[in-house]
């Protein structure tokens, strides 16, 4: 894949932990690629599958969804529900061959700044290897 | 003539004139057909064409719309709108051969108890002559 491909990555993160993770990262001056665009949602459980799909169809090369670790959800079970929802979306994309591997789900706690940055960087590398999302250039969606 | 047929007539009466006129007719012990069921609306302009259509489809044999005389509307122009809507309904019913004569519009002022009693009686007789609405027994609505 060409070296100069800069993927566009949408990083949906939980307002209680993932966002905290990014704050911790900034406190420690940890950097992550600037083409990773963070979006704060109140809880991954409140993230609609349509938003993920919209990002996926309208120009994102990859989507990361990060919620609290199991058992740590501020709303008790939002991340468990989100997990089921992500599984459904991934299953749909897989059945239709649209590249479910471009969606990652990972738990990140408030204190895990390093994990937050690592996730962004690792995913960025991964998507670079995969190449651009074929859907984003299509004008017939 | 009517072989015992007692029609179902729905009357939509303007609160300010026709309804008061009906009241006056009642107080003055004038004869009003018992087949007329009155629904009070705040203005004849409030009579949504759908009210009338619904009444017919629910099996009403006739529908009366009554409002203030032109120029006397409590809301200045409600009865002019009602008149246009009446024309619309009559044209639609006429076009579909749905017996437009089962629908009527009258201007009745608050002091015209006598007129109210007369038009109601006349309309009830007309409907009696027309016989029951063919919509009555239809089950495939």
């Amino acid at each position: 894949m060409s070296r100069d491909f800069t993927p566009k990555i949408i990083y949906f993160m939980c307002g209680w932990c993932g966002t905290g993770g990014s704050e911790t990262a900034s406190a420690y001056h940890l950097c992550y690629p600037e083409n990773v665009l963070p979006f704060r949602v109140n809880c991954t459980g409140s993230l609609s599958s349509v938003h993920v799909l919209r990002a996926f169809i309208e120009g994102a090369d990859g989507v990361i969804i990060s919620g609290c670790h199991p058992g740590d959800c501020h709303y008790e079970d939002g991340n468990f529900r989100a997990r089921r929802r992500v599984a459904t979306v991934k299953s749909i994309l897989d059945s239709l061959g649209l590249g479910e591997e471009r969606i990652w789900f990972r738990y990140i706690a408030h204190g895990e700044g390093k994990r937050y940055v690592d996730t962004a960087a690792e995913f960025n590398d991964y998507i670079k290897k995969l190449g651009p999302n074929p859907l984003k250039e299509r004008n017939d969606t | 003539m009517n072989n015992g047929f007692e029609p179902n007539i729905i009357g939509f009466l303007c609160n300010w004139c026709a309804y008061t006129g009906a009241d006056l007719a009642g107080v003055a012990r004038m004869k009003v057909p018992s087949s007329l069921r009155v629904i009070r609306v705040m203005c004849s302009g409030r009579i949504d064409p759908l009210f009338v259509i619904k009444a017919f489809l629910k099996g009403a044999d006739g529908v009366m719309m009554m409002g203030c005389h032109p120029g006397d509307c409590h809301y200045q122009k409600g009865n002019f709108s009602a008149r246009r809507r009446f024309m619309l309904l009559r044209t639609i019913l006429d076009n579909l051969a749905l017996e437009p004569e089962r629908l009527g519009l009258w201007w009745v002022s608050a002091s015209e108890g006598q007129r109210y009693s007369r038009v109601a009686e006349e309309f009830a007789n007309k409907i009696k002559n027309l016989g029951p609405s063919p919509v009555r027994g239809e089950i495939f609505l």
Partner: protein
């Protein structure tokens, strides 16, 4: 008298060249036109901003996958574009858009309209699985004869407004003899003239009106009368209505594609219209049986009451009906008489006020006085 611009290319190529000219000269920032979607598979509207993408455009293709008026309304509901956009629309789509603007569902600002003398379109199902090329060439042959084209939508064969009243540029199609060699554009407004300024081609003054157009108008009028008379014998009374609309499956597709049904949530899909158990029970007691879900006839009559006055007769509703109800014929027949009593011509003039937004004190004076 409008100016006529003749481009010495086939009518499709000429129109495309003109659109390309508009984009390249930055006279417009985008063009809305029909285009092949995914190779030869489908036809759909597209907003094209890159001149290269016009390659796949089919501006005059005889198909209406969606009423363009509805699409323009979607585009301008939240404001008008900052730069001019050109829209290639059929006359009924333009009229639909004007009706929508009267209902505050769009805006004309910064739009230039390119329309055509419209010979009609084919029903949409002919595009799926059909060969688009043969469809187009058969159409082209028929246009040149100036005849009413068989197989087109019945709404189109009976359409009396096939010349666009207020387009900026009109592509002349009907009864043009050499469509393969020349493309005639009428510059119908000052805007249109400014747009075409700089476009290569032969220019002269000419009126759009021609004996051929008038002849076709008469033919369509005859066919319209015949179709309406036939429908008139079918839509007689409640029995006729049930025969026509009884097979309706309640998908409400007709209202969804109708350019005039703009409501976010149709009354007939809303809570107040849902029957409560007591209503079903009443019907059951009275008649011994009742249809579930009920309200099929109510839906169609209600929709007639809501929009027949603005029905522009585009025929989309008939096209999408999965059970082949001639919705469009019924609506345009009723619409014609309703429009006649209010002396209203939908979609002709954006200044003309909707009949239910005004009244005249001196009209219908005999009503209510007896």
């Amino acid at each position: 008298m409008p100016q006529l611009l003749k481009i010495s290319k086939s009518v499709d190529e000429g129109t495309k060249a003109f659109l390309e000219f508009l984009l390249k000269e930055k006279k417009v920032c985008g063009v809305i036109t029909l285009r092949k979607i995914h190779g030869d598979q489908g036809i759909g509207y597209s907003l094209i901003t890159r001149p290269d993408d016009l390659e796949e455009a089919l501006p005059l293709f005889p198909l209406m996958p969606a009423n363009g008026g509805k699409i323009l309304s979607r585009l301008t509901l939240r404001g008008s574009p900052k730069e001019p956009v050109a829209a290639v629309m059929k006359p009924c789509e333009m009229r639909a858009f004007i009706e929508l603007i009267k209902r505050k569902q769009g805006s004309l600002d910064n739009f230039v309209f390119i329309s055509q003398t419209c010979p009609g379109v084919y029903p949409i199902e002919m595009s799926s699985g059909g060969d688009l090329e043969t469809l187009a060439s058969r159409y082209r042959e028929n246009i040149q004869l100036g005849e009413n084209i068989p197989e087109t939508r019945s709404a189109c064969r009976t359409c009396l407004h096939f010349t666009p009243p207020n387009a900026d540029i009109i592509v002349s199609l009907i009864a043009e003899k050499d469509l393969d060699k020349s493309c005639s554009l009428f510059l119908n407004s000052k805007k249109g003239e400014a747009l075409a300024d700089g476009m290569a081609g032969e220019r002269r003054e000419q009126t759009l009106d021609s004996p051929e157009l008038r002849l076709l108008h008469n033919k369509k009028k005859e066919e319209r009368k015949k179709l309406f008379d036939e429908m008139g014998t079918e839509m007689r009374g409640i029995e006729g209505l049930i025969r026509l609309f009884g097979k309706c499956i309640g998908c409400h597709g007709c209202s969804y594609v109708c350019p005039l049904c703009y409501c976010d949530l149709c009354f007939f899909d809303s809570k107040p219209n849902e029957s409560r158990p007591i209503s079903y029970q009443g019907d059951l007691e009275r008649k011994g049986a009742t249809r579930i879900p009920s309200g099929t006839i109510f839906y169609h009559l209600g929709r007639l009451a809501h929009m027949s006055v603005s029905c522009i007769g585009c025929g989309m509703c008939t096209d999408v009906c999965p059970v082949d109800i001639p919705v469009s014929t019924i609506f345009s027949r009723v619409g014609e008489s309703v429009q006649k009593i209010f002396d209203y011509r939908p979609g002709m003039d954006v200044e003309e006020v909707l009949p239910f937004a005004v009244y005249k004190e001196e009209e219908f004076q005999e009503i209510g006085e007896q």
